[in-house]
C-alpha cells in the first residue's frame, strides 16, 4: 500500500482538474466530485495509517525530477508515523468541512469554483504532508499558500477580502524567503534535501553545528510565516475574510499547522542545536501569550478564534522548541479537531445572524441547540478541562516544560492557558447565553441545516475522544507511536494536571462572572486598564508599525526608483541621443557651409567663366570668319616680325 501513497494527494488533484475543465458549470457535480475525491483520500489515509501502525519503520520513495550529471533533485515521498497521522487528520477534517460547505456555501455564485479550490488545497496540503524532501515540501508549501490566497480572497468583490489575500500571500512569502535560503544552505551543507539523508548526516555530526543552526533557523522562518508566529502573525486575523469553512480548514486546522509540521520535521536540528531550540521555544511562547492577550478584547467572533489559533500554534511551537516532539504534534492533532469545530460553529452562528460581531449576538443557545452544545464542548476542550482532548495534549506540553526545567516557559504557557479559557468562555457566554442584544437578528436566527450540523457533531465527538489516544496511563498510546528517537512515556504528573485544571476553571469562572452573571462589569474593567485595553484592542499596533516601517517606505522607494529610472538612466540615454543629434547638427552646418561651400564655389567660378566666354559664340558666321582672318593676319605678321 505505501508506495501508492501518492494517490492520497493525487485524488483531489484529479478532482480539481475535472472541476476546472469539465464541471465548472455544474454545482452539484463539482461538489460531489470534490467530496468523493477527499473521501477516497481519507480511505487511503486510513489504510496507510493501519499499515504504518503495523510497521512503523519510515519508508522513502523517490523519483527523478531534475537529473543532471552535476545536479540532482528528486521528488521524494516519506511515510512515517507522523505522516500517517497527519494524512488521516488532514483528509478527515477536509472531508467534514467539504460536507459542511455544501450547506454553508449553498447558493454562492461561485460554488463550483469553491470546490475546485478546496480540492486544490487538499491536494497541496496532503502533498506537503507526504513530502519526503524539504524541496518537495517547499513546492507544496507554496501551493497551499496559493490556495490560501485564492480562498481568503474568494469573495474578492470585497476589497478587504482581496487585501487580506494579498497580505497573507506576501507575509508568508517573506517567511518563505528565509525557508528558501535555508534550503540552499542545507543543500550545500548536506548535499541533498532528502529528509532521511539530512537526519542521518545530522545524527552523525557530519554537518557543522553553526550550519545546522543557520539552516534550521532559516527554514524555521517559513514556519513562522505559515503558522503565523510572531513577527509574521499579522496575516492570519485578516485571513478571516474568507468563507468560514475555509477559515476552519486552512486557517485553523491544517495549513497553519504546516509550520508546526515543518518544525516537527526539523526536530533533529532542534535537538542538535541548542540555539535553535531556544529561539523556537521563545518565539512560540511569546506568540502564545501575545495572541491570547489580544484575543481577550476582540469583538469579531472569527478574529477571536484567529488569535486563539495563533496562540495555540505558539503552544505547539513552544512544545517543539523544548524538544516535545510528541507533545507538539499531539496538540496539533487535537487542536485541529476542536478548532475546526469552533470555526464551523462560528460559521453556523454567522450563517444564522449574518454578522461577525459578538456584540450583536446573545441568547442564541436557545435557538441553535446543536451548535451551542458543540461549541461549548470545543471550548471546554480548548480550555483544557478533564477529560476532553485539549486537556491531555495541553498537559503533555506542560509536562515537557516541567521535565525540561523550563519553568519560565511553563509559567508563560500556564498564563496563556488561563487567558485562553477566559476569552473562549467570554465568547460562549456572549454569543449563546443572556439576552439577545440585537432583537431583529435574534428573531431571524435559526439552526443550520443537517449537512452543517452533522459535521459539527462528528467533530464534537472527536474533540472529546481524540485526546484519549494520548492518555498517559495508556501503554501503547500516541507517545509510543509518534515519537522522536525514543518512545515518549511521561509518567502522569498529577500536580500539573491539577494546576492546569484550576487555571482553566478560574478562567472560565472569571468569564462567567463578567459575561454571564455580570457581577464584574467588562466596561469598567476596560476603563480601569484603559491603556492596556487600547493596546490590546489595536493588536499591539503591529499592522500600523509594519505599514509605517516596511510597506510605505517600500512604495516610496519604488516611486523614487522609477523617477531615477526616467530621470537619470533614461535621461542619460536620451541625452546621449540628443547630444549626437546636436553634433550632427553642427556637422551639417559645417557640411553646408564649408565642404559644400568649397565644392559649389568651384562650380560657380567655372560657370561664371563660361558665362563670360560664351558671349564669344555669336552664331554670326561672319564674325567667326573675321576672327579667322584676323588670326591669319596675326600669324603672318608674327611670322615676319
Amino acid at each position: 500500500m505505501l508506495p501508492y501513497s501518492w494517490l492520497i494527494p493525487a485524488l483531489p488533484l484529479l478532482s480539481f482538474v475535472l472541476i476546472v475543465f469539465f464541471l465548472i458549470r455544474s454545482n452539484k457535480a463539482s461538489s460531489y466530485t470534490s467530496i468523493a475525491a477527499i473521501l477516497g483520500s481519507l480511505a487511503l489515509s486510513v489504510a496507510v495509517l493501519a499499515e504504518v501502525l503495523g510497521n512503523p519503520q519510515p519508508q522513502e520513495f523517490a523519483i527523478n525530477w531534475i537529473f543532471m550529471e552535476s545536479f540532482k533533485l528528486p521528488m521524494v515521498m516519506y511515510i512515517d508515523p507522523l505522516t500517517a497521522v497527519m494524512v488521516v487528520m488532514v483528509s478527515l477534517v477536509a472531508s467534514l468541512i467539504q460536507i459542511y460547505s455544501l450547506g454553508y456555501m449553498h447558493g454562492d455564485p461561485r460554488f463550483a469554483r469553491y470546490y475546485a479550490y478546496m480540492s486544490l488545497f487538499a491536494f497541496s496540503m496532503l502533498g506537503l504532508v507526504v513530502a519526503g524532501s524539504f524541496f518537495t515540501m517547499f513546492i507544496f508549501w507554496e501551493l497551499v499558500g496559493l490556495t490560501s490566497y485564492l480562498l481568503i480572497g474568494f469573495w474578492f468583490e470585497k476589497k478587504i477580502a482581496s487585501d487580506a489575500g494579498k497580505k497573507a500571500f506576501i507575509t508568508t512569502k517573506i517567511g518563505d524567503f528565509g525557508f528558501l535560503i535555508g534550503l540552499l544552505v542545507m543543500f550545500f551543507a548536506a548535499g541533498t534535501l532528502n529528509m532521511a539523508e539530512i537526519f542521518d548526516k545530522v545524527h552523525h555530526h557530519e554537518i557543522a553545528l553553526g550550519t545546522i543552526t543557520a539552516a534550521g533557523l532559516l527554514m524555521f522562518c517559513g514556519a513562522i510565516g505559515k503558522s503565523a508566529q510572531f513577527p509574521l502573525h499579522v496575516w492570519l486575523p485578516d485571513a478571516m475574510e474568507g468563507p468560514t469553512p475555509v477559515s476552519a480548514l486552512i486557517h485553523a486546522a491544517t495549513m497553519v499547522a504546516a509550520g508546526v509540521y515543518l518544525t516537527a520535521r526539523l526536530m533533529p536540528l532542534v535537538i542538535t542545536s541548542h540555539t535553535m531550540a531556544m529561539v523556537v521555544a521563545i518565539i512560540g511562547a511569546f506568540t502564545a501569550l501575545m495572541a491570547a492577550s489580544i484575543g481577550l478584547v476582540q469583538n469579531d467572533i472569527k478574529r477571536v478564534l484567529a488569535y486563539s489559533t495563533i496562540s495555540q500554534l505558539g503552544y505547539m511551537i513552544l512544545a517543539l522548541g523544548m524538544g516535545g516532539y510528541t507533545a507538539g504534534t499531539f496538540h496539533l492533532m487535537t487542536h485541529a479537531c476542536f478548532k475546526a469545530l469552533l470555526f464551523l460553529g462560528a460559521g453556523s452562528v454567522i450563517h444564522a445572524v449574518h454578522t461577525n460581531d459578538i456584540q450583536e449576538m446573545g441568547g442564541l443557545g436557545r435557538k441553535m441547540k446543536t451548535t451551542a452544545a458543540t461549541f461549548f464542548i470545543a471550548s471546554f476542550s480548548i480550555a483544557g478541562i478533564f477529560p476532553l482532548s485539549g486537556f491531555w495534549s495541553k498537559d503533555e506540553i506542560f509536562a515537557v516544560a516541567w521535565e525540561g526545567g523550563h519553568y519560565i516557559l511553563l509559567v508563560v504557557a500556564v498564563l496563556a492557558a488561563f487567558m485562553t479559557a477566559f476569552y473562549m468562555f467570554r465568547l460562549c457566554f456572549m454569543v449563546f447565553t443572556g439576552k439577545p442584544r440585537d432583537q431583529e437578528k435574534y428573531d431571524h436566527a435559526r439552526e443550520s441545516p443537517k449537512n452543517m450540523t452533522i459535521p459539527l457533531v462528528i467533530l464534537a465527538f472527536l474533540s472529546i475522544t481524540v485526546g484519549w489516544v494520548g492518555i498517559p496511563w495508556l501503554k501503547h498510546g500516541y507517545g509510543s507511536f509518534v515519537f522522536f528517537e525514543h518512545p515518549h512515556h511521561v509518567a502522569p504528573n498529577y500536580i500539573l494536571m491539577v494546576i492546569s485544571t484550576i487555571v482553566a476553571l478560574s478562567g472560565i469562572y472569571l468569564a462567567y462572572l463578567m459575561y454571564y452573571k455580570g457581577s464584574i462589569s467588562p466596561v469598567k474593567m476596560a476603563e480601569r486598564f484603559k491603556r492596556i485595553y487600547r493596546v490590546l484592542f489595536n493588536k499591539y499596533y503591529f499592522d500600523e508599525l509594519y505599514m509605517a516601517t516596511i510597506i510605505e517606505p517600500t512604495y516610496r522607494l519604488t516611486e523614487k526608483l522609477y523617477k531615477f529610472d526616467l530621470g537619470v538612466i533614461d535621461w542619460l540615454v536620451n541625452f546621449f541621443g540628443d547630444f549626437t543629434v546636436f553634433l550632427s547638427w553642427i556637422q551639417e552646418r559645417f557640411d553646408t557651409y564649408v565642404v559644400d561651400g568649397a565644392v559649389n564655389g568651384l562650380g560657380y567660378t567655372i560657370r561664371a567663366f563660361g558665362g563670360g566666354l560664351r558671349r564669344i559664340q555669336t552664331g554670326q558666321l561672319q564674325n567667326y570668319a573675321f576672327v579667322i582672318f584676323l588670326g591669319l593676319v596675326v600669324f603672318i605678321l608674327l611670322r615676319f616680325l
Binding site: R614, Q617, T618, G619, Q620, L621, Q622, A625, F626, F629
Partner: protein, 101 residues
C-alpha cells in the same frame, strides 16, 4: 606680264572677296564673295603653273577641281539659303544666329 602681276590681281580679288564675305548682309552676296575668293585661288594656281613648271599642267588641273567643287558648293549653299529663306522669311545673315550656344 610677270608672275607678280598675276599675283597682285589674285590678291586684289581675294581681298575683295574677303571684304564681301565679312560685310555682306545678304547670304547670296556672301556666296558670291566666296566665289570671288575661289577664283583668286584659281588665278594663283594657273599663274604658278605657267611660270614655274611650264611643261606640266598640274595647276590647271587643280583649278578645274576647284571650279567643280565651287559649283557643288554653290548648289548646296544656294539650297541652304533657299531653305533658310522659306523658314525665316529672309536671308539676312545677322538673323541666322540660331546655332549659337
Amino acid at each position: 606680264m610677270t608672275l607678280y602681276h598675276y599675283l597682285i590681281l589674285s590678291a586684289i580679288l581675294f581681298v575683295i572677296g574677303m571684304y564681301g564675305l565679312l560685310t555682306r548682309r545678304n547670304a547670296v552676296g556672301v556666296l558670291m564673295s566666296i566665289e570671288l575668293m575661289f577664283n583668286a585661288a584659281n588665278i594663283n594656281f594657273v599663274a604658278f603653273s605657267k611660270f614655274i613648271t611650264p611643261n606640266e599642267f598640274i595647276g590647271q588641273i587643280f583649278s578645274i577641281f576647284v571650279i567643280t567643287i565651287a559649283a557643288a558648293e554653290a548648289a548646296v549653299g544656294l539650297a541652304i539659303v533657299l531653305l533658310i529663306y522659306r523658314n525665316y522669311k529672309g536671308i539676312e545673315v545677322d538673323n541666322i544666329n540660331f546655332m549659337k550656344w
